[in-house]
């Protein structure tokens, strides 16, 4: 019995971990390309949650159709945030971009609280239960994890196979040199911030498929994303996915052995430990 619980928890942690990884991918992409730590990451995830919730409850859309809206909205929002708040501080010291994105964070949370209050919402989309031997997992969790993997794979194809994706990598590698070969770096930066925000919003939407949330939930997941990118190596996309899975597994497995309140203690303990002994992350920082 005990080993079955462990197995089920492991699968559960793995599934949610992939979604965490997708969110962290957004954070790490923006950092990798423009060296900006996006403190508006969490509220963007919140907007993704509310986006999918509202498109289901108000527009009557199927959640997966709502997800497409959330992704498109996230891209536009990200480009908007870049043009309004980030562009002017892109070459300034880190503190300026931290403050700029933190202001966006506060504005989104403030407006969203005024509109939606901070009470819990629940989409509880039901796709039945998948069974494999002793394990039973909710279908929405499986769907969310598969979608997260699909989006991450699509990003990889975009970055390595398309001309525009190569522009993104070139600007990440050397912005001045990219300009010199004719790449319009200002537009590529705006697009990259848009994509990073889109990933965060999409991950928020996927989380909202199976977990209750409030206006403030994004903040919690933002912290998880920070732990994940440090775990995997800041700016390293693969590291973000691996880090997400590690965090998901901790959340899944620890409650089997100890009280669930130990989960954050372990997560942030690991965060500090990585910073102390291997600050470049498990897989090393990358671009």
């Amino acid at each position: 019995m005990w080993s079955e619980t462990l197995l089920a928890s492991t699968v559960d942690g793995l599934l949610i971990g992939v979604v965490y990884g997708l969110a962290a991918l957004g954070l790490t992409l923006i950092f990798g390309v423009m060296n900006v730590v996006n403190l508006a990451h969490g509220p963007t995830m919140t907007l993704g949650m509310f986006g999918i919730y509202l498109s289901a409850t108000k527009l009557g859309l199927h959640p997966f159709a709502g997800l497409v809206l959330v992704a498109a909205g996230g891209l536009l929002l990200g480009v908007g945030i870049y043009v309004v708040a980030v562009k002017r501080v892109i070459d300034a010291p880190h503190l300026a971009s931290l403050l700029a994105t933190f202001s966006v964070n506060l504005m989104i949370v403030g407006v969203a609280t005024a509109i939606f209050s901070t009470s819990f919402r629940n989409l509880s989309h039901d796709l039945g239960v998948l069974r494999a031997g002793p394990i039973a997992v909710p279908g929405t969790r499986v769907a969310a994890a598969l979608l997260a993997v699909a989006v991450a794979a699509a990003l990889q194809v975009f970055l390595t196979r398309t001309r525009l994706g190569k522009y993104v990598r070139a600007v990440a590698a050397n912005r001045a040199a990219a300009e010199l070969v004719g790449i319009p770096s200002a537009r590529v930066l705006a697009l990259s911030f848009g994509i990073g925000t889109m990933l965060a919003a999409t991950a928020g939407g996927l989380i909202a498929l199976s977990l209750p949330f409030t206006v403030l939930s994004g903040g919690v997941y933002e912290l998880k994303s920070f732990v994940i990118v440090v775990l995997g190596g800041l700016g390293n996309p693969l590291g973000a996915l691996v880090g997400g899975v590690v965090l998901g597994l901790i959340e899944g497995i620890v409650p089997v052995f100890a009280r669930a309140t130990w989960v954050p203690v372990l997560e942030y303990g690991l965060f500090v430990l990585i910073l102390l002994v291997r600050p470049s992350g498990l897989l090393g920082g990358g671009r």
């Binding site: 590698a173 001045a176 990219a178 070969v181 770096s185």
Partner: protein
Amino acid sequence: MTTTTTTAAAPAAPAATAAVLEAHEVETGYGGVQILWGISIVLAPGTLTALVGANGGGKTTLLRAIVGQLPLWRGAVTFDGADLGRLPPHGRAARGLVLVPEGRQLFATMTVAENLELGATPRRARAAARRNRERVLELFPRLGERLRQRAGSLSGGEQQMLAVARGIMADPRLLIVDELSMGLAPLLAASLFAAMRRLRDGGLSILLVEQNVQLALAVSDAAIVMESGRVARSGSAADLAGDDGVRKSYLGV
């Protein structure tokens, strides 16, 4: 010191041949510190021009002003007869004004093939990508053997070849190379200079910034000597190589 402000780098160029690049009374600097004091140069098409002078003389600053990385305080830069105004670097590259920057500045995490592909970003370069690719692989066969390798893993000489090759992929009308031979073994430097020569023979206009004055004057058609942010001398490379002042200051003879 002479404060000549208008100088023809290629005095023999007939008046009918329009300059490929012209800087007129250019002044600029960093923050409040002025580096360039009324620089005027004219580059004739199809020539290999060397820009030489002591460190801190403003050579790299002039290049940055020409490609639009540094705004002008005064003066103007015209390329192919058109004033470049405040056109950003990527817009200048699109017109064929291409800089191979000091220190190579490759996309180190990307492959050699990707670096070449990204060189051909401007529309006109994309149209000529196949021909230019053949041209650079013929010029630097070693790059052909390393297409799948990450640019950052190449040797210093190969990196410099790739930097030049990436610049040629942009289908330049004027190729500017900053510090071609820096940090390279003499034999390697000589082969890169020979490559510059072959490119010029193919009709390309080239501006070469170089520490190694002797080598630069030996391969170039024209030369410009910069001192303290001003053009100190200019003329044919052969004349300058034979000039006593230049020999004393830069060739150590």
